[in-house]
């Protein structure tokens, strides 16, 4: 199962490091990353494979969201299908 992690907030040092640290701790593999910084606003989209994740989806989502809160950015972890079904015919 693949999930999309999105991070939106003010750019600061260590956002990617912080999140990828959480992911590797839980055995989540990062498949792709794209990021952009528009006038200080940081937006990152990460595609990850969570099929071997050590914890449940809900728990992973909660841990990453609290990591985001520490860094002052907003993070969503969502199943990939929501985006494919909404934006692809």
């Amino acid at each position: 199962m693949r999930a999309v992690i999105t991070v939106v907030g003010h750019d600061t040092v260590g956002i990617i490091a912080g999140i990828s640290g959480e992911l590797s701790k839980n055995n989540v593999n990062i498949l792709d990353i794209s990021q952009s910084v528009l006038q200080d606003l940081f937006a990152m989209v990460m595609l990850v494979d969570i099929s071997k994740c050590k914890i449940s989806f809900t728990e992973l989502s909660r841990q990453i969201a609290s990591k985001g809160a520490e860094m002052g950015v907003k993070i969503h972890v969502m199943h990939e299908d929501i985006f494919t079904s909404m934006h692809r015919v």
């Binding site: 999309v4 999105t6 939106v8 792709d32 794209s34 952009s36 937006a43 989209v45 595609l47 989806f57 809900t58 989502s61 907003k74 969503h76 972890v77 969502m78 199943h79 990939e80 299908d81 929501i82 985006f83 494919t84 079904s85 909404m86 934006h87």
Partner: protein
């Protein structure tokens, strides 16, 4: 890799524009719950609902977590209870409603629909017993919703039922007078009622439905509003395109949730209801969409045309996004549940007559409208008759959910809180329709019902 713009668009829709799944409603057949004693029927109904819907709330919460889409309401609809009232050995069927309430509490849902009867052509004994029990049932329960279908395009209008429902609404208002007659917010009178509607208070699980089905209602007035505001000045053709594209995306989300929920719960996938259902929250208003199209205030001239465009474009966009479309499908215009409608009604810009005209081009009908508590039952019946005639003649669903608020008059307002919102008391015509309603009998089916 998915397009970053698309991903951020979805997140913005959910975070800032109130996009959500308004309801996942599990339809449950109660056709195996008949018995000759009311307590036995009530127990069977309770057991069946609890067994079937045991995992409904947990499953929906899981889906909401995984996909990141809020699922606001988890609900159950059941086979119209009137058919279980035919074979029992007493006239008092209230205990069935009480047990439905208990079942709703046990499984953790906020509404259960189906304390209903279909009497568009005539009454059975069970229909009479059920309708007689409606006021008390709505007063003694919180979650139980009731609906009565009084007309279809094929059968015409049962004016006996229209006359009776005026009285039932008045009595319900009286019995729930301590809570601003809130019982009436759980009672809908229909023409051409759909059998797979996921929305309360009119939801029930029709006789042609499967043993257990999942019906989903999506919602996103805020998303459509933002898209129209972003587009700025554009032609009607472009406006329709924008609404269609937005409705497509909203509905795809509903289709995904419905497919997932039905798979995980072992139920049939029923339908997705292509709806724009407002809430009292700021930015989640259908009225504001109409105003964004260029109307100074909803209710002014042009409102019906704007709503017609919106309703049609929502259906066109949504219909391709879902494998099965049903329910009410279209834009809802409840007064108390829509911040823009509340403002317009309070300022006097939106009146009952304009709302009636609007219902001829959108789904549902006169919805969540508070009127003076001293309105005669015959006037309420006449309001129902007008609305039901629109549905019957135009081969569409129409409905009336009207609240004659006990002890309140024009100029007052009521506040129900939560999704039911607040409503100014709207004036009704003072001239009587009593002699018209007293005629009784049936208004014959329209000529275009003869399609065979």
């Amino acid at each position: 890799m998915l397009n970053t713009f698309d991903i951020l668009e979805t997140i913005k829709m959910i975070d800032e524009e109130h996009l959500d799944i308004r309801t996942v409603t599990m339809g449950i057949s109660l056709r195996d719950c008949a018995s000759d004693s009311v307590p036995k029927v009530a127990d069977k109904v309770y057991d069946k609902i609890c067994r079937r819907a045991e995992k409904l709330v947990k499953t929906c919460d899981d889906i909401a977590n995984e996909y990141g889409i809020p699922i606001i309401n988890k609900r159950v609809s059941v086979t119209p209870i009137s058919f279980l009232c035919d074979s029992v050995d007493t006239d008092d069927v209230l205990p069935i409603a009480v047990k439905m309430q208990r079942a709703a509490e046990t499984v953790g849902i906020n509404f259960i629909g189906g304390f209903s009867a279909l009497v568009h052509k005539g009454y059975t004994t069970g229909d009479r017993r059920l309708i007689a029990a409606i006021p008390q049932a709505l007063a003694e329960t919180e979650c139980v919703c009731s609906s009565v279908n009084v007309a279809t395009t094929r059968a015409g209008i049962n004016m006996d039922a229209v006359e009776e429902m005026g009285k039932v609404i008045k009595e319900t208002a009286f019995l729930t007078r301590d809570n601003d007659s809130i019982g009436c917010a759980k009672l809908v009178v229909f023409a051409n009622t759909p059998e797979d509607n996921p929305f309360m208070a009119g939801a029930f699980h029709g006789f042609g439905e499967a043993e257990c089905a999942i019906n989903v209602g999506v919602s996103g007035p805020g998303v459509v509003l933002s898209a129209i505001e972003r587009a700025g000045k554009c032609s009607f053709s472009e406006l329709a395109e924008i609404i269609k594209r937005t409705a497509f995306k909203i509905t795809r989300m509903g289709q995904l949730a419905a497919t997932e929920a039905s798979r995980r719960l072992g139920a049939e996938f029923g339908i997705v209801d292509l709806s724009l259902a407002p809430t009292p929250a700021k930015g989640d208003s259908v009225a504001k969409i109409l105003e964004a199209m260029g109307l100074e205030v909803v209710g002014t001239h042009g409102t019906t045309a704007a709503l017609a465009l919106l309703n049609d474009a929502v259906k066109k966009g949504g219909v391709m996004a879902s494998s099965h479309v049903g329910g009410l499908s279209g834009a809802f215009i409840p007064v108390s549940e829509d911040a823009g409608m509340i403002e317009a009604a309070a300022s006097g810009a939106l009146c009952l007559d304009k709302l009636e005209a609007m219902t001829s081009v959108c789904s549902v009908g006169l919805d969540m409208i508070a009127i003076p508590g001293d309105t005669p039952a015959s006037t309420i019946s006449a309001i129902i008759a007008d609305e039901i005639a629109i549905g019957t003649i135009n081969n569409k669903t129409t409905a009336v959910r009207i609240i004659p608020v006990y002890g309140k008059n024009e100029g007052d307002s009521v506040c129900y809180g939560g999704l039911l919102g607040e409503a100014p008391i709207m004036p009704v015509h003072k001239a009587s329709a009593e002699a018209f309603i007293a005629r009784r009998g049936r208004i014959p089916a329209p000529i275009h019902s003869q399609r065979n």
